[in-house]
Each structure stands twice: as structure tokens, then as C-alpha cells.
């Protein structure tokens, strides 16, 4: 029994021993594994560039060599070092503190933070932190610091580059879009190239034709002006003498009717020269602000009273269309246009008159041979016989007429053309044979205020008193002028040249009330004579007189203080009125 008991105890002992031995072996193996793991982690910590730290209750407990490399703090510094103490800004401090104080097991920390290096520099780091034990955060936290300074600089460069790239990409896209657009336009342009060339050639031909026409018109205008001037001088003599002979003549006198006829014929001749002068380029007129609507209404009404077979439609707005123009000349233009319409409709018909203001852009203006700007466009349309292309091209030439010999002078439209060109405008015609024609006049719009309309009353011959110095290079005109002046009650002194006029004026300056000064004279012309007279007496009263219309010289003298302008040929009435206006 004893042996049995002993064996039983021994058996237990052996098994216990075996168990203990096995546990010891297991422990030893585990210990060896642990040691290997420790060595592995140590190697990892030593070779990783991330600084690893253990932080407990805000204070560093342990740090890896990389931490010292990044932030300079060594293991010896740690006991006095708080993670919050090395934060370089308030927001980082707050975020880390919030993490450390959080009780939530799932709260980790990861982001960019700035820390103080031991030497005072600020180091940008990528920081990661997590609790050592998520169930017990009081055991501390593992912090990983990664030096981000260089990466951050690189990242900033990358960001800038990316932004630049994006911008240039956008620019490139825009350029591509523009290029595509341009290419599309180019393709379209290419497709229509032939058409465009043809069109452009046509335009060029048209411009060329217009230029030649304009040059021709200008040459003819100069010629017409010269003829009109000489003619007006002659007419002044004839008219003057007729006036002198008629003055005081009884109506039953044997020559009374003949003289009246001479006066009427001179009047017709004067109308003719006035048309010629209208056409002549270079002449200026008495420019005033006029309302074309008002002018059209009045002139159309007057014309219709005389031509009942014409029905007139007037399309004018209520708003005034203002231009700077010579009213008489404009009336002449309109009358010529109305006459033309009337003659195009021998059996009567409809005439449409319209007026509007419009803005011409560069392209539109070029089409009309005008400078871009704001223009008045007034047109006169008829439903008459119309005209063909060849006629249209020559319609504004002086003495060009489609009418039978003796029915028209061929000066109406030429005169209208000259006047309008002279007013910096243009006149155009559109026509279709047997359909009708439309004449359109473009004139620059005036910015002035609407004018008040005062009709000049027909005045009686007004006698006057005083001394008049009459200056003209034509002896015949001096004679007739002297007699007319004396008939009007004035004392007349004559001078046949500018030099003689000055000499005369120096002698009798106190006696002379008014100087009637011809513009066109040899050697010292009216312009220069006036300047010298004005130098002698700045308050001198001078009435300019010319067979031309007021030209740029005359306009300048009026500006300088000249007192008036008398258009040759003049009669007794016109002379007396002009003098009265100056003397009064």
C-alpha cells in the first residue's frame, strides 16, 4: 500500500515537473520572441525619420532619436518638456489640448502643426497621435512627428506651379477657343473669298468712279463759279442801269415796259448764275441753325399750291431735325428736287417727302463717302419715269439734262449737288426705270438749339444820307453804283483798286460812313484791303460785295467784324436795305 501511495505521489510529482518544465520552455521561447520584437522595434525607431514620443499627462516620457533630430530636444530635456509648451501657435495648442483632454476612445489626431525647435526655429511637422491604450487613455499617447519643412516648401511650390499651370491652361483653352473661332471665321471667309473679292472690287470701282465724278464736278464747279462771277458783274451793271432808268419813269413811258422786261430777264439770268454759284465748289453761305422738318413742310406746301397734279406725302417727325445750313440755299435744293420729281411725273402722281435723323457708323458712312457721325437724311421720292444706270451716273453734272432742248437748264440737280457737298453732306439717287426715283440728302446734324423763324419783310426803297466809298475794279460797276447811291441820297466816292481805296479813306476817313468793298480785285483784293482799312480804323463799317457767293475769305472777314455781304447783281432795293442795316 505504501509503495502504491508513493507511486501515486511520484506520478503527480513527475507530471507537475513536466508541466513546469514545459511552461519554462514556453516562457523562454516567449522571452526570446519578445527580445526579438524589442530589437525589431528599436531598429525601426532608430531608422525611421519620424520622431516618436510617448506623452503622458501632457509631458514627454520618452522620445526616439529622430525626434531629437527634428526638434533638437533630447531624452534629458524631456522631464521638463510639455507637448503644449513646444506648440508655436495658439490654434495648434488648442487642438492638441482638446485631443489630450478628450475621453472618447475613438479620437485620434492627425494634421499639420508648427513646433518650436530647441534652437528657437519653427518647424512644420505632420503630427499623428493615438492613445497607447484606446480603453484607457490615461496610459498615455504615442505622438509621431514628421519634419514637413522641406515638403511644405515643395508643396507650396507645387501648389503655385499648379495654380500657374491652371491659369495657363485656362488661357490656353481660351486661346484654343479663340483660335477655333478664328479658324471657323477664316474658313467661312475662305468660302466667301471670291464673293468678297468681287464685292470689294465692285466697291473699289464704285469709289473710283465716285472719285472721278467728284473731281470732274469740282473742275466744272470752279469753271461755273468763274463764269457766274463775271456774269454777275455784267448783270449788276445792266440791272443797275435799268433800275436807274426806271426810277422816276412814268409807267406810260414808251420804254417803261421794255425796261421792265430787261429787269425781268436780268432777274432770270441772276437766278441762273445763282444756280451756277450753288453748284460751284468752295463757296460758303450764311450758315444758320435750321429745322429741316419745318423747311420741308413750308417748301412742300408752297410747291403743292402751284402743282395741283402732284399729291404730296410728308413723313416728318414732330421733333426738329436741326442742321447748320444756308436757308435760301436749302430752299433752292428742295425746289430743284421737287421740280425734278414733278418733271418725272408729267401726268401727275405721288411725291413722298421724308426726313429723319440717323447715326452712321464707319462702314455705313464710308458707303456714303461721309465721316462717321449723326446725320439728317431727307429724301424726295417720285413714282415717275425713273432712269437707267447711265443717266443716274451723270444726273448731277451741270448742263446734263434728259429733257427736251429748251425745257431745262440741266443746272438744278448740279446746283443741289454743289450746295449739299458744300454743306459737308452728300446727295444720292436711287432709281428704277418706270418705277421711280428717290433723292436722299445727308447733312450733318447740328447740336444747336432750335432757331426762331423770322421772315424778312419785303422792304421799300429806303433813302439815306452820308458818304459811301465804293470800291470795285470794274469802271462800269463804279459808275452804275455811284449813280444808284446818289439816287438813294448818299454821297458816293469811288476807288478802282484796293490801294486807291486806302488812299481815299486816309484822306476822307471822317466823312466816309460806309465802304462798299468788292471781294475780287487784282493786286490788293477785298480781303487784304479790308485788313488794311481795319488797321486804319478798327471801327470802320464795310459792306462786302461779290459776284461769288460768300466764300471762305468773305466768311473770315464777316467773322473779323465786316458788317455785311451784298450779292451781285443787286438792285436799288437790295442796296438800300443792306446800307440801311449797316448805318442803323
Amino acid at each position: 500500500m505504501q509503495d502504491e501511495q508513493l507511486r501515486r505521489l511520484l506520478q503527480q510529482y513527475i507530471f507537475n515537473l513536466e508541466d513546469a518544465q514545459e511552461k519554462a520552455e514556453e516562457l523562454s521561447a516567449a522571452n526570446e520572441g519578445l527580445q526579438r520584437t524589442t530589437e525589431f522595434f528599436k531598429a525601426v525607431l532608430n531608422c525611421t525619420p519620424h520622431g516618436i514620443c510617448l506623452v503622458k499627462r501632457h509631458t514627454f516620457q520618452w522620445c526616439s532619436p529622430a525626434f531629437t533630430e527634428i526638434l533638437g530636444w533630447t531624452q534629458q530635456d524631456l522631464p521638463a518638456l510639455s507637448i503644449l509648451g513646444i506648440c508655436s501657435c495658439r490654434s495648434d495648442f488648442d487642438e492638441i489640448e482638446a485631443y489630450l483632454n478628450s475621453a472618447d476612445a475613438g479620437v485620434f489626431l492627425h494634421g499639420e502643426f508648427n513646433f518650436m525647435h530647441k534652437d528657437g526655429r519653427v518647424i512644420a511637422c505632420i503630427l499623428s497621435a493615438r492613445p497607447l491604450d484606446t480603453h484607457d487613455r490615461s496610459r498615455g499617447h504615442v505622438f509621431s512627428f514628421t519634419d514637413f519643412t522641406e515638403l511644405k516648401a515643395a508643396r507650396d511650390i507645387c501648389r503655385n506651379r499648379a495654380e500657374e499651370l491652371q491659369l495657363s491652361n485656362q488661357q490656353l483653352n481660351r486661346e484654343i477657343a479663340e483660335r477655333a473661332k478664328a479658324e471657323a471665321a477664316l474658313n467661312e471667309y475662305k468660302e466667301h473669298l471670291e464673293e468678297l473679292v468681287a464685292k470689294r472690287t465692285e466697291q473699289l470701282n464704285e469709289t473710283n468712279r465716285r472719285l472721278l465724278q467728284a473731281q470732274k464736278m469740282e473742275a466744272v464747279g470752279t469753271l461755273a463759279g468763274g463764269i457766274a462771277h463775271d456774269f454777275n458783274n455784267l448783270l449788276t451793271g445792266i440791272r443797275g442801269y435799268a433800275s436807274l432808268m426806271l426810277h422816276g419813269m412814268e409807267s406810260d413811258h414808251v420804254h417803261f415796259d421794255k425796261l421792265k422786261l430787261i429787269e425781268e430777264m436780268v432777274k432770270s439770268a441772276s437766278d441762273l448764275t445763282s444756280q451756277l454759284l450753288g453748284f460751284a465748289r468752295g463757296g460758303k453761305y450764311v450758315l444758320k441753325t435750321i429745322d429741316l422738318n419745318e423747311l420741308l413742310q413750308k417748301s412742300a406746301a408752297m410747291f403743292c399750291r402751284a402743282r395741283h397734279e402732284i399729291t404730296t406725302h410728308l413723313n416728318t417727325g414732330k421733333k426738329p431735325v436741326l442742321v447748320e445750313a444756308d436757308r435760301t440755299q436749302m430752299e433752292q435744293v428742295l425746289l430743284n428736287l421737287y421740280m425734278n420729281a414733278w418733271q418725272a411725273m408729267p401726268r401727275g402722281g405721288e411725291m413722298t417727302i421724308s426726313c429723319k435723323s440717323l447715326q452712321l457708323d464707319e462702314t455705313e458712312a464710308a458707303r456714303h463717302n461721309l465721316a462717321p457721325g449723326h446725320y439728317a437724311a431727307m429724301s424726295v421720292s417720285d413714282k415717275g419715269v425713273g432712269m437707267d444706270e447711265a443717266t443716274m451716273r451723270r444726273i448731277f453734272e451741270p448742263f446734263f439734262t434728259t429733257k427736251d432742248m429748251g425745257r431745262g437748264t440741266g443746272l438744278g440737280l448740279a446746283s443741289a449737288y454743289g450746295i449739299i457737298i458744300n454743306h459737308h453732306g452728300t446727295i444720292e439717287v436711287e432709281s428704277r426705270k418706270w418705277v421711280g426715283s428717290t433723292f436722299t440728302v445727308f447733312l450733318p446734324i447740328s447740336n444747336a438749339q432750335a432757331p426762331s423763324i423770322a421772315e424778312a419783310a419785303e422792304s421799300e426803297v429806303a433813302k439815306g444820307a452820308g458818304t459811301i466809298l465804293l470800291v470795285d475794279d470794274q469802271p462800269m460797276l463804279l459808275n452804275v453804283g455811284k449813280e444808284l447811291l446818289e439816287l438813294l441820297g448818299y454821297r458816293a466816292i469811288t476807288a478802282q483798286s484796293g490801294a486807291k481805296a486806302i488812299e481815299c479813306y486816309l484822306k476822307e476817313r471822317d466823312a466816309i460812313d460806309v465802304v462798299i468793298l468788292d471781294m475780287i480785285m487784282p493786286v490788293l483784293n477785298g480781303h487784304d484791303t479790308y485788313l488794311q482799312l481795319k488797321a486804319i480804323n478798327p471801327k470802320i463799317k464795310v459792306l462786302l460785295c461779290s459776284g461769288y457767293s460768300i466764300d471762305s475769305h468773305a466768311s473770315e472777314l464777316i467773322q473779323l467784324g465786316c458788317n455785311g455781304f451784298l450779292q451781285k447783281p443787286f438792285d436799288l432795293n437790295e442796296l438800300s436795305k443792306a446800307l440801311k442795316d449797316i448805318i442803323n
Partner: protein, 122 residues
């Protein structure tokens, strides 16, 4: 398929140690702490090997062995008796009851394992 071993001993220190060691080696074990339970377990569970003490409450290991060996359903199950009874007559009685091997205590686990493995390969 792991072998099923019926471990029978009334001393828990022994049975627990054997069970731990055998299971560690991949065996499947059934533990019984008296003779009756051992017999029932052998009949019901059909273990591959029975490792059994001799001195057991209710029924001795020798009796359990004899009953197993007489029942054709269990007669082929190798029975190793592990006993502190080391007298030749006691050993003989065990072998007579049909035990395939009689191991005397104290035996080391490697020795026991060797015996078990000898029946496995058979």
C-alpha cells in the same frame, strides 16, 4: 481525423494533465473519474484507445477492462492500464482482464505517449 482517447483517473491532477498534454498534440479526449462512467463512456463514445487507472471508485479499472474485452462491440478497443499497483500479481490480474498494456506509475508523459502511439500504428 484525430484519435479519441478515453482518460480515466480519479485524481484530477493526473487526468487534467493527461488531457491537456494529449489535446495539445491533437488528440480528442474524454475524461471519466470513476469505473462506471468509464464503462458508459467507452460503450457510448467508442474511443480509439482507453488510458485507465486501476484503482477507481464504483468499479476498478480491471473490471471495466474485463467487461470491455468481453463485449464484442468494445473488445477491439486497446486498453492501457496506468496504475500505482506494481506487484507482479496485480500486473498479471490486469493483463488477465484483457488489458493490452500495463504501465506502472510513475510513468513520464513521453513514455505514456509512446505506448499510445504503439497502438495507433497497429
Amino acid at each position: 481525423m484525430s484519435k479519441k482517447i478515453l482518460v480515466v483517473d480519479d485524481e484530477e491532477v493526473i487526468s487534467a494533465y493527461l488531457q491537456k498534454k494529449l489535446e495539445k498534440l491533437g488528440y480528442c479526449t474524454i475524461v471519466a473519474n470513476d469505473g462506471e462512467k468509464a464503462l458508459n463512456a467507452a460503450i457510448n463514445e467508442k474511443p480509439d484507445i482507453v488510458l485507465m487507472d486501476v484503482k477507481l471508485p464504483r468499479m476498478t479499472g480491471t473490471d471495466v477492462c474485463r467487461l470491455l474485452k468481453t463485449d464484442p462491440k468494445t473488445a477491439n478497443i486497446p486498453v492501457i492500464l496506468l496504475s500505482a499497483k506494481a506487484q507482479p500479481a496485480e500486473i498479471q490480474a490486469g493483463l488477465d482482464a484483457g488489458a493490452d498494456k500495463y504501465l506502472c506509475k510513475p510513468a513520464s508523459f513521453p513514455e505514456i505517449l509512446e505506448t499510445i502511439r504503439s497502438f495507433e500504428s497497429a
